[in-house]
Symmetry: C2
Subunit: 360 residues, 2 copies
């Protein structure tokens, strides 16, 4: 008989929490159990609008969610500056933790979150949804195939979107006291994670922010670029921005093959996603065309990637709760590496575009 579903509490009514609430509903091994907001009314409206069952609890504070003994796990979409306080408190209250990205303001704060999770034996996972799409596993197979892909040489990632005036004035992601990393913590998180993913999560040796970082009047990053380099010479560049048309490219070039996709964070469509591979690409006679040409691949998914994320998280939580398993360390490890790279890029900007060593 299947174990009972993992009961989720949600801290706050962020826009992204609507999508994750739906994901919790869609995932077969989880259920929406509670939502808390500083305003009880707001929490009630959120529950009513987002498919919470009638039995769900509505609280007028975050603490109340953490104090609900029936809550197994919490999803925390609060502004980054609040992560340390609420993630640590959640872990102390023995709640498994699905935390939005960026996971913290810096790796030092993140380490305190991880320490709290370890101390309480709860699972940690960050909210990077695309990691859980079956396309990602399929592409990984390609990157791991030495005959088709070979050795990684270069990665480029671009994630930009054109924020509206309202966003640029009021969104938490442009407020120094809420999300001090700005575009670097938001879209840059995805660039960094995708580059690390392509490099099999080997940390780069150095990071160099590239000149031209755009900041708002409060000093929050609105656009920046960076160059990462590994010990063996492979390298990556990325550009992240709130100031240019929505673009979401990842290009991974190896000695034998090339992988490309143009919707790496949010697939163009919910139920399927594509990528392009090229293997030992060459030219026709007289170089008037390509032979072979790259080929496109489509991967279907029965659940959207965010529901697959919740499903995997809940599976791990269930293993701990019902089978006495230990938390899976892979997820906090990947989060920490991503944060370390963001920290190094930020440090490079702050030091006037010096090359910064990334030390694990």
């Amino acid at each position: 008989m299947a174990a009972p579903p993992i009961k989720f509490g949600i801290l706050g009514c962020a826009e992204i929490a609507r999508k994750v609430s739906r994901a919790i509903s869609l995932s077969p091994n989880s259920t929406l159990h509670a939502v808390g907001s500083r305003s009880h009314e707001k929490a009630a409206k959120f529950a009513a609008d987002n498919g919470f069952p009638d039995s769900a609890k509505v609280y007028g504070s975050y603490e109340a969610v953490l104090d609900d003994p029936d809550v197994d796990a919490v999803y925390v979409p609060l502004p980054t500056s609040l992560h340390l306080k609420w993630a640590v408190l959640a872990a102390q209250k023995k709640k498994h933790l699905l935390l939005e990205k960026p996971v913290a303001i810096n790796a030092r704060e993140f380490d305190q979150i991880v320490a709290a999770c370890e101390s309480s034996g709860v699972q940690f996972m960050d909210g990077t949804m695309w990691m859980h799409h079956p396309r990602t596993a399929k592409m990984k197979e390609f990157l791991c195939d030495s005959s088709r892909f070979g050795d990684l040489k270069a990665v480029h990632c671009c994630f930009t979107f054109a924020a509206e005036k309202e966003f640029l004035e009021n969104d938490i992601r442009v407020k120094p006291d809420l999300d001090a990393l700005g575009a670097l913590g938001d879209v840059g998180w995805y660039c960094t994670r995708s580059i690390l993913w392509a490099a099999d999560f080997e940390l780069p040796k150095t990071a160099l922010a590239l000149r031209g970082t755009v900041k708002n009047s409060s000093g929050v990053i609105l656009a920046c670029s960076a160059f990462l380099q590994w010990e063996d010479g492979k390298s990556a560049t990325f550009h992240c921005s709130f100031l240019a048309n929505l673009t979401m490219d990842l290009t991974v070039v190896g000695t034998n093959g090339t992988l490309k996709f143009q919707d790496f964070v949010i697939p163009f469509e919910q139920d399927k996603a594509s990528f392009s591979t090229a293997v030992k690409s060459g030219f026709t006679e007289l170089v008037t065309g390509w032979d072979p040409k790259p080929s496109d691949h489509t991967v279907m998914t029965d659940l959207p990637q965010e529901a697959l994320m919740v499903k995997e998280f809940s599976r791990l939580v269930g293993s701990i709760k019902y089978d006495g398993a230990k938390p899976e360390k892979k997820w906090p490890t990947l989060s920490r590496k991503t944060q370390l790279v963001l920290d190094a890029v930020k440090a490079s900007i702050d030091k006037g575009y010096e090359t910064v060593e990334i030390i694990s």
Copy 2:
């Protein structure tokens, strides 16, 4: 009545000269008239193998081609180190000049070539074929449309190919005395040109080579990356290499739109080429997909891009020869800007990855 076709002489029997010979045959306003090589036998074989008419002249030296009074224009695919000598001599002999890229070892040498062309009143054009594909004009329309594309923010270009062992040991492009710029002069030329093209040929203010340049034992560049920045804050990165799978990406991101193509130098197919545009891209409700999505566009061409290049060059030559027109300055201007950027990237590498100002 149509003017007689422009008579081409070819200096040397380089591999690329086979493709351009065919282009001269295909172009309606040009004809293959002569080929010269240091070996008469090699020139004769080249003429026989590459569709030269029976009336074509075969010479055992480059000088002889330049001394043939019937030759209107020469195509010069010689190693870069020989460009200064032979391009200047060709211009002095009043031959219009279609010169392979990189046009020179540096802009200073290139300026001598341009001075010789100006002094003789002959047309100059470099051999960057993709500039002449109708796709390029179509994409330019998109970039110039402020409502669809807006202001340019970021460009990324990647041009790599996996050279065979034989190439890495013996090709002229890895020999310091023949093509001292190596991959930067070869594939990097195209990256630089494409970035300039996207920036409407506004020169960047600075160039910074990114660490990790790979050189062979003779000091010739086999792979490198660079970052270019403009006065107004827009920026570009490129990666060029002989050491990774054939990849040929250009991504151009503006405030309103995005342009992408994956075969910018050599289209996948000879008779048509595609590109992708995205305009005011956004997400569906709950950010579970894109709306609108990018769209693909295909442009047909009656002649391959290299024949269109020859056709345009011959049209300009014909205007000078038959109509008393002045040489079109656009082409040497674009070549010079491209060379200036290459020079700056090279200087940045030589100075230990300092930022280098680009001075026109």
